[in-house]
């Protein structure tokens, strides 16, 4: 797959003692792909209709024609060409299926009628966000570099329009790459809004397509609560494509999107105020990590207003905005951004009429194989509101392709999915939080390290790294790993493999460190910071604090 992106070249070689010959597992399916061009006959007037019969004879092994197959335009019709939809479609096509995918026209800000190939991740999520994070991190690097002997004649200034132009050029390039990826896989891309007509028919802007299976992967969109003045508020889509940089911005919300944007605008020298309902940011994350990242954000100049709920936005005559909360009003904002959650894009898809069950929040209900209540209709990604991460959508898409077209019913595996928050400093985590671990296992040992990295001792900046490893007291298995500090997501990437593999604390200890790195700290944690034990009488967990040995 990466190969088809052109800028990446994975190769698989089998190396025998004497000979080398390359094999590419996907290319071995290429004869199926070729059959896409053999449009034998058409049952519909659509120009690129393919025959299911013909395909089933080619893939006699995987699709056994027990009942006389109905003829469909496609084996799979996917609505929504984001991460999950593209992955499922391409993999399905690689497995020999005839596949079409529809997507709304490209726009940086999404709506009911705009979207674009690549979806949230590429156009208004992970990618543009990360590019802005890269840009905003430089101001911290300039500060750091002064401690390493670099000197600036003038304070570096940032030009927002250069960044946004470069960002937009990049996402344009990527949407192009996604399109050619689909094309190379033999997936037919149909522009327009897809709507389900019946369990086997999709309507795209008035044109009907029949499909044996329909996949819904339309993702989610930012949600802004309806309060007075909410029309002045921007969401994350808009924040990634503002015409000018905010001078003073209020960010309402304490989730990962809020803290990431707080870091971005703070790094680009905006005056940033974050308003959260709770006492700390990032509900659901490990409590100590929440405290730590909050402190580090403060040290970098972000103001966090805790336990405040927004009530109204008022626009004053000079154009500036005021945010009224339960605790008072703060004036003088050039922008107010709400990062108050996202909602699945399930409206006007025709789902209710065909009987696809939705959850209360509008997400599509699916079983472990991503199948909806209508057997021929499937759903992956954010629209199902399971774990809303690109790599999870990819996993779900890949699993679905296997289930449908490789005769291998495959469930996505949600255990120990690592994730990152690109706050500044960033967070990497995998597995359970301390709170979850105690709830699930009772007796756990917690190892923590909170230190000043080598870089910070030279730069003189107050940057620290916090690491936490949670092990099961009974089995010694590592249950969770949480890091906040520079390079945390990168460090976590390697350790996620170890945690996923169910390795023990002893396995970590047996591994030699890479010196000098921050990551080596995780294999040199010798003494538990605390041992938490369930006291049998009360069924509660007791905490036994031990002085850190410091050795």
């Amino acid at each position: 797959m990466a190969a088809s992106l052109g800028n990446s070249s994975p190769t698989l070689q089998i190396l025998c003692k004497k000979c080398k010959f390359p094999i590419n597992p996907f290319f071995s399916f290429s004869h199926y792909n070729k059959s896409h061009n053999l449009d034998s006959f058409s049952s519909f007037s659509h120009p690129l209709t393919r025959s299911y019969c013909r395909r089933s004879t080619i893939r006699a092994d995987s699709t056994n024609a027990v009942e006389p197959p109905r003829k469909y335009d496609f084996d799979l019709f996917t609505i929504g060409a984001g991460s999950g939809g593209v992955r499922a479609s391409r993999f399905a096509a690689n497995l020999g299926a005839s596949v079409a995918i529809c997507e709304l026209p490209f726009a940086t800000v999404s709506s009911d009628s705009t979207g674009g190939v690549g979806g949230t991740c590429v156009l208004r999520g992970c990618v543009p966000k990360k590019l802005l994070v890269y840009a905003s991190k430089y101001s911290h690097e300039f500060e750091e570099s002064c401690g390493f002997g670099w000197k600036y004649a003038a304070e570096p200034e940032h030009d927002w329009s250069t960044l946004i132009a470069n960002k937009n050029a990049e996402i344009q390039r990527l949407t192009g790459i996604y399109k050619s990826t689909l094309k190379n896989a033999g997936v037919e891309l149909i522009g327009g809004r897809g709507k389900i007509v019946d369990p086997h028919t999709v309507d795209v802007d008035g044109k009907l397509y029949s499909a044996k299976n329909i996949l819904i992967s339309v993702g989610g969109r930012p949600f802004i609560p309806d309060i007075p003045g909410s029309e002045y508020v921007i969401d994350s889509d808009a924040a990634l494509d503002l015409p000018s940089k905010p001078k003073k911005i209020a960010i309402v919300g304490g989730g990962y999107i809020a803290v990431e944007f707080a870091g971005i605008f703070n790094g680009l020298k905006s005056d940033v105020h974050v308003f959260i309902r709770q006492k700390t940011v990032l509900r659901g994350f490990d409590e100590e990590i929440r405290d730590f990242v909050g402190e580090q954000m403060l040290l970098r100049g972000i103001e966090i207003h805790t336990e405040q709920s927004p009530q109204a936005i008022i626009k004053s005559s000079d154009g500036s905005l005021s945010l009224k909360t339960n605790k008072g009003t703060i004036d003088g904002f050039s922008h107010i951004m709400f990062a108050t959650g996202r909602k699945p894009n399930t409206k006007n898809l025709g789902l209710e009429s065909v009987g696809v069950k939705l959850k209360e929040n509008g997400a599509i209900e699916v079983d472990e194989y991503s199948q909806t209540s209508v057997p021929s209709i499937w759903a992956v990604g954010d629209v199902t509101d399971r774990i809303n991460l690109t790599p999870v959508a990819l996993m779900e898409g890949g699993a679905l392709a296997k289930t449908l077209f490789a005769n291998k019913p495959t469930k996505p595996e949600y255990r120990a999915v690592p994730s990152a928050v690109f706050s500044q400093p960033p967070i990497g985590q995998v597995g359970l939080t301390e709170e979850q671990a105690i709830k699930e296992y009772g007796d756990v040992d917690v190892y923590t390290a909170n230190f000043r990295p080598l870089k910070a001792t030279l730069s003189g900046l107050p940057d620290r790294i916090f690491m936490k490893l949670i092990a099961c007291a009974k089995t010694d298995k590592v249950l969770g790993l949480h890091i906040c500090g520079e390079d945390s997501p990168e460090i976590m990437q390697g350790f996620a493999v170890a945690v996923k593999a169910g390795l023990t604390k002893a396995d970590f200890d047996a591994t030699v460190g890479i010196h000098p790195t921050a990551a080596e700290e995780l294999v040199t944690m010798r003494t538990p910071t605390r041992k938490l034990r369930r006291t049998p009488s009360e069924g509660k967990t007791d905490s036994e604090f031990k002085a850190a040995a410091g050795v």
């Binding site: 990446s8 698989l12 070689q13 390493f148 250069t162 991460l389 995998v430 080598l454 030279l458 990551a519």
Partner: protein, 490 residues
């Protein structure tokens, strides 16, 4: 506390024997291995003495310092300079991200050098405190072995004191060597390179090992022109060949001039700098010539031969799997044994030594799947076998998976530099035999991979790990880790 009492009880049993010596353990050399072994032994209840030469950034036979190579003239100062140098390219990249910077940004070498020295002095102090907190007695002076159970410390004022010890541990490390070519005295080694008064404008480096490529990156990042001369076709002999080629390519891409198949024949001092002559008759001019041609164990002045401790032909102390020399009361760990010359390995050897001798648990250091990193810019990090080693050792087929991609950060900065990752897998068992990566943050990423490899993880286990939306990969899904996308791609 409970532990302490247990040990005390144990010690009493041998009290008659113990009283015969001044120390249970006397350690010569307070570097990574020596300090670790001393502290851990003391924690097991042993009475420990350690001696070390007086502190100085540049080591000789008579100066060194608590902390050893790693802290004073190795890993730590090197990494500090690498950080300093990395900013050079970062600042270039910043412009494409919208930052308006002056054409020329000043770099003040003296300031960095000063701060580096401050930091290693601070660490030197921390190490001393660690020793005293552990109850280890530190002596400043040169240690010599005068008998199987006797050590002599020559103090700064020249007075000699003898101590008897039940066990003697040699942890004196190693020092950079110089090839004997005409004009060799004009060149420097890594010790001096970490403490140069002036930043060179033109540097010539002889050697293809990790020290050579690291200094090449440091000086290049700070703006010098760098010529790297090495004997082989590629730098970093012993690493995976494919990755060696990747490093050579990226170093070249960053403006370092590579001279493969090259040695230096003569150095001549001229008005214009040092004239360097190569075996190809080429002439280069340099402000600084660095020899990074290997290190030799510090065993010369220890009086080991006289006592009967066997050395190998490189001068390294010969030890068994438990780090014991041919004399049962004398042990050696770290670079002086020339096994695997890495700080974390010396630490492991020190820990195993303390466990074996004072912890009642004979422990062998385990040298399998030891990860390491070369801090060139961008870094290379590896764990386990190279493809060549895997082919040699495996019975059946070996699968090699490589992924080459443009890190996301480069898409806007326009930097032409690919990140490469590689997994070497046993075809029969699916076990991952080796992993390597050359690209930003490789060392941080590889640490966790090393844990997985250490436990015999399979390729299937790697594949099943869903990635978080991490770093630079522009592979496949564009927003998650290169590693995972690369696993799932294949």
């Amino acid at each position: 506390m409970a532990r302490k009492m247990l040990i005390d009880g144990e010690l009493e049993k041998h009290s008659e024997e113990e009283t015969r010596y001044d120390f249970d353990l006397f350690v010569i050399g307070a570097g990574s291995g020596g300090v670790r072994a001393s502290r851990f032994s003391a924690q097991y209840g042993a009475k420990v003495g350690i001696c070390e030469l007086p502190f100085h950034p540049i080591s000789t036979e008579v100066i060194g310092g608590v902390g050893g190579t790693c802290v004073i003239r190795g890993c730590v100062p090197k990494k500090i300079l690498v950080y300093g140098a990395t900013f050079g390219s970062e600042l270039e990249d910043a412009r494409s991200y919208g930052w308006e910077l002056n054409e020329k940004i000043d770099f003040n070498w003296k300031k960095l050098l000063h701060k580096k020295t401050e930091e290693i002095v601070r660490l030197n102090g921390i190490y001393k405190r660690l020793l005293s907190n552990a109850g280890v007695k530190l002596f400043e002076g040169e240690g010599k072995v005068v008998g199987p159970n006797e050590v002599e410390v020559i103090q700064l004022d020249g007075t000699k004191i003898s101590y008897s010890a039940k066990h003697i541990l040699i942890a004196t490390g190693s020092r950079a060597q110089r090839p004997s070519i005409p004009g060799q005295e004009l060149a420097i080694t890594s010790d001096e390179a970490l403490s140069l008064e002036e930043l060179p404008k033109r540097a010539v480096i002889l050697g293809g090992g990790y020290i050579a490529v690291e200094f090449a990156s440091i000086w290049r990042g700070m703006g010098a022109t760098v010529d790297l001369c090495f004997r082989k076709e590629l730098p970093l002999r012993g690493f995976d060949d494919e990755m060696r080629a990747v490093v050579a390519r990226t170093l070249e891409g960053r403006g370092i001039t590579m001279h493969p198949g090259t040695t230096l024949t003569e150095l001549v001092k001229t008005e214009d700098g040092i004239k360097v002559r190569t075996n190809h008759g080429e002439e280069l001019l340099a402000d600084v010539v660095l020899f990074a041609t290997g290190r030799a164990p510090n065993t010369k002045r220890l009086n080991l031969e006289a006592v009967g401790v066997e050395l190998d032909k490189t001068g390294a102390v010969k030890v068994d799997e438990y780090s014991r020399t041919n004399l049962p009361s004398i042990w050696a760990i770290g670079d002086v044994t020339n096994r695997m010359n890495l700080t974390p390995v010396a630490l492991m050897e020190g820990t195993c030594f303390a466990k074996t001798v004072f912890g009642g648990q004979p422990s062998k250091p385990d040298y399998s799947n030891v990860p390491c990193a070369v801090f060139c810019i961008p870094p290379l990090s590896v764990v386990g076998l190279s493809e060549e080693q895997a082919i040699e050792q495996a019975n059946g087929d070996v699968l090699a998976f490589t992924s080459t991609f443009n890190p996301m950060k480069n898409t806007i900065s326009g930097r032409q530099e690919k990140t490469v990752m590689k997994l070497v897998v046993d075809g029969e068992t699916d076990k991952v035999l080796g992993a390597s990566m050359c690209g930003p943050d490789a060392a941080e990423i590889m640490q966790g991979i090393a844990v997985a490899l250490k436990c015999g993880a399979t390729k299937a286990q790697f594949d099943s790990t869903v990635s978080g939306p991490t770093f630079q990969s522009l592979c496949s899904s564009l927003c998650f880790s290169a590693f995972i996308s690369f696993f799932t791609c294949l």
